[in-house]
Amino acid sequence: MDSSALLRLRGVVKKFGDFTALKGVDLDIVEGEFFTIVGPSGSGKSTLIRLLVGMDELTEGSIWLRDGRIDETPANLRPTCMVFQSLALFPHMTVGQNIEFPLKLRKEAPAARRARAEELLDLLRLPRSYYDKRISQCSGGERQRVALARALAFDPEILFFDEPLSALDYRLRKTLEKELKDLHARTGKTFVYITHSLEEAMVMSDRIAIMKEGHFEQIAVADEIYSAPVSRFVAEFMGEVNLFGLRADDAGLITSDILKIRAGVAVDNLDPGGHGLLMVRPEYVRFAGGERAFDFTLTGTLHGEYALGSRIQYEIETTGGMVTVEKLREDRLNASEGEQVTIGFDSAVTHFIREAT
């Protein structure tokens, strides 16, 4: 057992009647990291955070905080705290009273409480005059900051987040994502964040866990999740991706039903007799032209062209299905719909996902 981890989960199982929401989850969270658990709805991430916070009981397994087992400790005695999706601010209290709530429970003196509340308002860049404001007078972003301040006032060992940004509009969400990352750096606290958006996770996290049907599909740093996913599920979870089936015969010769492969090309992790998926992100696919020869090429007809702001996305219909290509605006392709195009990419920009034989 890795004793350097702050929070450890061992064989955590949660069943609701016949339905198993968590199928034996193991996890180590290191002190001070920003750890994000990502998964589609129904993947068990909300169930997991409810167990971590103490709002639900586990069926099997254990949860450890430092050297103590905490899964039987009630939520109000755990040194952890959660920012709710709804924020769960207390509408009958002012901003200041909300922030001071955990301090008041600990019977801290009013002056000390006030000082701490003002410190937290400063930390979250809210004016001190907000101390006496009512919650109903605060905007969505301000409420978010009040909820954060209240959680920080509790001074938890671990701060949990249950999709607190999901109800906000896009621009505010982007701003708050960066603020949250910044706040993590300034406070040095351990953040465990839950979201269904891998994009959100990428912006903020040190490490990301991808959850699928009650287990972790992959736990890795953000870069690795993006560039080296372990499965089709993880690869497709992070937006657009092109996947091509590849196999190697017993002599090690690589073949594909769709791709034309340059002689002598090697693919990492593809052993003789094995098969799997070759992944290439749309931004790495090139349009063929001139002398440049690619490791992998294929032809198809240009099906559609979509403007994505700074980039343009092309969809190319091939015998192996739709292939997505993205170009910067200035590298726009001079071709019209229905035209025959050849695309290609090199082995270096691909990632091979081995499948069990």
Partner: protein, 284 residues
């Protein structure tokens, strides 16, 4: 166009306004004027002398008022304590069973209050359903709990339970589950969650329920007459007697005015303290 709307609005509110003035305000004004008339007159054209208010203090009617208010207060407090867990369950725990409970409680209102109270008399009296059976089986009897103050309070609690239960359940339904869990997560004990989160957020329901049951209980007379055997006299009983046997309309009016002012003041104070729109399901 604007002025036409306004005219039509005034016009269409006229019938109800007339009905309210004639049937609600007018009798109240008559009672108020009668209350300052000399004793035992039947006309409003006498010289006011406020003698009825002196009688209220001289002849001990204030005791009836204090009994009524006191018993109403005690029964309201008991109702709050009894109904809180039940309302909580109705709002948060019972699912389909809430409907069954609601129908059961509402059904009891279909039977006249007096008949239900007489049912309790038959159940509790000496030789009645309970004591009679126990005496027949064991040979040992006991005194009836009837005809005392506690049984009157019991009667008030029993009769006015629905008026506390439903507003309270409404109020508790307004407490978001997340706020309760967040408070608990932030280190609050169950009691702290109750007092600092649930009670303040359910306040509109608590105030409405308490006002309804207090006001109704303060003006009740059947419980003290039927269950209490007039062990103590309720103020409503005094008012009735003054108007009927006593043939003293000014006294009855004065007693009514005192009760109206106290209860009205209390109701206004209570309502001003909470956001009634919240419980009526409207957003501000």
């Amino acid at each position: 166009m604007r002025t036409l709307d306004r005219k039509l609005g005034l016009l269409s509110s006229l019938p109800l306004a007339v009905v309210l003035v004639v049937s609600f305000l007018a009798p109240l004004v008559v009672v108020a004027i009668f209350s300052v008339m000399p004793q035992k007159v039947f006309s409003l054209t006498n010289m006011p002398d406020f003698s009825s208010y002196a009688v209220f203090f001289d002849q001990g009617y204030y005791k009836s008022l204090l009994w009524s208010l006191g018993m109403a207060l005690v029964s309201t407090v008991i109702l709050l304590v009894v109904c809180w867990p039940l309302s909580y369950a109705m709002a948060k725990v019972f699912k389909k069973f809430t409907l069954v409970l609601t129908i059961a409680v509402v059904m009891s209102l279909f039977v006249s209050e007096n008949i239900r109270l007489f049912g309790w008399v038959l159940t509790l009296m000496k030789g009645g359903l309970i004591e009679g059976h126990i005496r027949a089986w064991t040979g040992v009897g006991f005194d009836s709990p009837l005809y005392g103050v506690p049984i009157i309070v019991f009667g008030l609690v029993y009769v006015y339970l629905p008026f506390m239960l439903f507003p309270l359940a409404q109020g508790i339904a307004m407490v978001p589950d997340d706020t309760r869990q967040a408070a608990y997560d932030l280190g609050a004990t169950r009691w702290q969650v109750l007092w600092q989160i649930e009670v303040p957020l359910a306040a509109p329901g608590i105030v409405v329920g308490s006002l309804l049951s207090f006001v109704l209980a303060a003006g009740a007379l059947a419980e003290s007459k039927i269950l209490g055997g007039q062990a103590v006299i309720a103020i409503a009983d005094d008012i009735e007697t003054a108007f009927t046997f006593g043939q003293n309309w000014p006294l009855g009016s004065a007693l009514s005015m005192i009760l109206i002012v106290i209860i009205g003041g209390l109701a206004l104070f209570g309502v001003s303290k909470v956001d009634l729109d919240a419980i009526m399901g409207r957003k501000r």
